[in-house]
Assembly symmetry: C2
Homo-oligomer: 252 residues x 2
DNA sequence: CGACCTTTTGAACGTATTCAACCGATGTGG
DNA sequence: CCACATCGGTTGAATACGTTCAAAAGGTCG
């Protein structure tokens, strides 16, 4: 209960009526992708309001009833799967344009925690209205299906990573994936800040934080990347890509 | 192209008009779950036809264009994710009532292979008709969403398994999951046949086949299970469950 | 019956983990 | 403003777990 702060100020986005999907720069990454401009105003009505989250705050927790899906407007979040015995694992890192909350449709309550890794802004989309409107707008329906399917395919990739890759390959895949997602959003593909700790990266990749640190150092020594604190620069994307794609050991 | 056999004989189910969703014993596990009986006949029209697959045959391959989703009527199948460099990993085992093919909605083509582990019968559901009908039948729409969400949640579980569990825990989780799925379908929760090889289990769990064999032997020695060939009996489900849920080493 | 595939088991090896110490950056209170 | 506590990160050495390589047994299917 202590985690939902700042609701009054951000409801209805503080009176900025133009802050809707139709004028959102992320609309082609997000739910409205492919929607006819004339129908866009109906989409606008979907977004209940925006909410701001500070670093460490929860968007939702496992067990919470399904109410809405959430689109990240700005900032980075992580999803954490919890096991009965208290074990927890990062299941994904999410950035602007990503749609969250689909884990709750199955059982009517959320199955993971979502935590802000930095200050975030999130659009809330009541799920029942989304289902209703997607019955009336086939392109919206299809886009929702595509997004859920994309999540399934993404998970397959993570399973492959966790099940058959060595530490170096996992980290290379992770960095290249981050790089590509930044590029898709108009940021540099080679220079960016890691919003998560080594421990969170390790949890996501099924490795310990020390291993992450060691492999990053090795990549640095090999001239693939530069790391200073949280800042990362990919200096040799080609060789980083080649760390993947090599079942045999990757020696000179 | 050599993998699609027996299409003429099984089209329209060989003239058995009663073999439709409304009279299918799996309807509460499958897409029609929760549909009003009066609307069931509209669901019946969704199932294009049934197809039979023999052991080793492909339901579809990665790259094939999205045409239909598929519901398993009988038999067991596996999904395999392939990596560019030829690596491959089993992403899941599927049995009757499971819905397959949702990996293709995102990009319009399938992202994994589906292979029959034994003789199977599969209902084909043209995806465009499914989208169309789910616009008209809200319960169908919701059930489709639930099934896709369930797949996402299942994947989270696999990620947790691959990312934070030891070999014994992974195998215990696998066996208990199989057991529960058999029970849900009205079969014995303690006696069943493994339709997959040790290698396929290993691929799914991120382990080598030798490790699977060793852990099965250890479970057997400890009196948790009995294994003869492909037949498996869970003799102490409680202790098997306790193999999970213990972050510290599971001695005494 | 013979060829092949799957499974089991053993021994040596390798990768990632664990434990531990240390460093640097950040933030707090005196 | 500095001292101090804390948190995140790096690095080293010993350990453990699962893999790899190898051989042989058991089943299955032609």
């Amino acid at each position: 209960m202590e985690n939902y702060h700042d609701p009054p100020a951000s409801s209805l986005d503080g009176g900025h009526p133009h802050v809707v999907c139709s004028s959102c720069s992320l609309r082609e990454l997000c739910l409205p992708a492919g929607i006819d401009p004339r129908e866009m105003e109906r989409i606008d009505s979907l977004v209940n309001h925006r909410r701001k989250f500070r670093r460490g705050e929860h968007l939702y927790r496992a067990g919470a009833p399904l109410a809405s899906l959430y689109a990240i407007r700005s900032g980075t979040m992580k999803s954490c799967v919890l096991y009965e015995d208290g074990r927890e694992q990062v299941a994904g890192f999410h950035m602007m344009g990503d749609l969250l909350g689909m884990d709750a449709i199955s059982a009517g309550r959320h199955m993971c925690d979502i935590v802000a890794l930095e200050d975030c802004e999130v659009c809330e989309i009541p799920f029942s209205r989304l289902e209703q409107l997607s019955r009336e707008l086939p392109p919206l329906q299809h886009q929702l299906h595509r997004i859920m399917s994309r999540e399934i395919v993404r998970d397959y990739g993570v399973m492959l990573l966790l099940g058959s890759m060595k530490a170096e390959e996992r980290l290379a895949a992770f960095l290249l994936n981050l790089s590509q997602r930044f590029a898709t959003r108009g940021y540099s593909a080679t220079d960016f800040n890691l919003r998560m700790t080594r421990e969170e990266i390790g949890s996501y990749l099924g490795l310990k934080l020390e291993t992450i640190s060691r492999v990053l150092s090795r990549f640095h020594q090999d001239g693939l990347i530069e790391v200073h604190h949280k800042h990362l620069r990919i200096t040799d994307a080609g060789r980083l890509r080649r760390v993947l794609g090599q079942t045999p050991t990757a020696d000179a």
